[in-house]
Symmetry: D2
Subunit: 136 residues, 4 copies
């Protein structure tokens, strides 16, 4: 299992007139969580794309337990529970308030695709090498 945390500050633009973070903006928060989880492995998702693999989001779920509000400092926890053995990789994502309360949970399924052909592929070697130690 590989788990990683990063923080994010809620922007004014991300709130709506209900005075909470607009639910659609959690897609960006989850994205930041995944991107920083990868960076903490020692390379960047941009490196992955530069190496010819893209990882589009194929499925997405989220449950909103408690609202996040303007200027809140949120912690995004991103967890890879299962070794991605084929073209699929699934992240568990959780968002916590600065008091440690769980606000949002979600699950995001992405595919590994070769950007040149859009054909399914498997995890790039650089990712496999860095992730392996967490799954032994």
């Amino acid at each position: 299992m590989y788990t990683s945390e990063t923080t994010i500050r809620v922007r004014y633009a991300e709130t709506d007139r209900m005075n909470v973070v607009y639910h659609g903006n959690y897609a960006q928060y989850f994205e930041v969580g995944r991107v920083e989880a990868i960076r903490q492995l020692g390379f960047s998702y941009k490196d992955v794309e530069d190496a010819g693999v893209i990882m589009p989001v194929i499925e997405w779920t989220a449950k909103f337990l408690r609202p996040a509000r303007y200027d809140d400092l949120l912690t995004i926890r991103t967890t890879l529970q299962h070794w991605p053995a084929d073209h699929r990789i699934n992240f568990l994502q959780e968002i916590f308030s600065d008091k440690g309360k769980l606000l949002t949970t979600g699950s995001v399924l992405l595919y590994f695709l070769q950007s040149a052909t859009m054909e399914k592929t498997t995890m790039p070697a650089m990712m496999e090498e860095k992730l392996k130690p967490f799954f032994q």
Copy 2:
């Protein structure tokens, strides 16, 4: 069952560098679908809020089957399959290309809350009256 369709044109801002609509933006497309579904009943979601009831999104899921691209004219189909008997209302949402291909499916669960107290409530009378004929 109540079903409704509306169209939306993909904006440049909604695309990302993968040259497709960023997955998080489907939350807005689904929102537009629900809002227009309600408007076609003869009142607006804004009327609902003005009457003291808000409908926050509690859960949403989406499957991205095929990408949507810049300037595409999409059809959003919003379906209420089951009568909302308590504080919950669940919409099935589908997005089609202008050629009728299914691009995205999703499901959005919202709650009815009294905005003054944030307590759970049931469907406002104006909505119940207009929806009833579709569930007989």
Copy 3:
């Protein structure tokens, strides 16, 4: 002079906790205004890009006179006052409420660039042909 109007409905996601449209979202409204102004000439901005010319925004200014609110039906007026003689094209953009009140004015400067080389170029032939009658 060429002027064109289109309408847009304010989305929930576009409001912020001040209960008005977040100022940054007017960039998208202006964009929709320009895109529809071009479509009303008989081709699309997408056609322009497909023909190898991109039109990045180089400068934009806006004055926010009165707020727009959730579910408002806005009219976006887009005006090309001066013939674009070189690599620059400048649009005047105005947003009106459904009662005809001027809410926002802006000015957007774009360049014509060849997408292959990113070199400055002039207006594509298809645009020149359609715009000419308005400047004679």
Copy 4:
């Protein structure tokens, strides 16, 4: 004069199909710059709102000199050049690449308004006290 810097990482969602940051998203970057400039004074913009003063954006200009791209680490420099003597406050905003190249410049005019009445007011005492040392 008061000047402040903060950094921001470009999100995937903020790019568009031109493979650069969509120009409208700079409004959010500038907002983050102002918010962190205020936080570095020892209070937050949220404190200002909680004290009954809102600061809506009234005018906005930006010049895009060079594009920012996905995953870039940008520095946002926010400068208050002139003492805000009445209901107006104007920030100069600049965005630099991680190599120190100037990418974007802008100017944002905000008003101080009493949120209860929406009447013009002057800088709140907490802001005046913290800013004064920089203008002597």
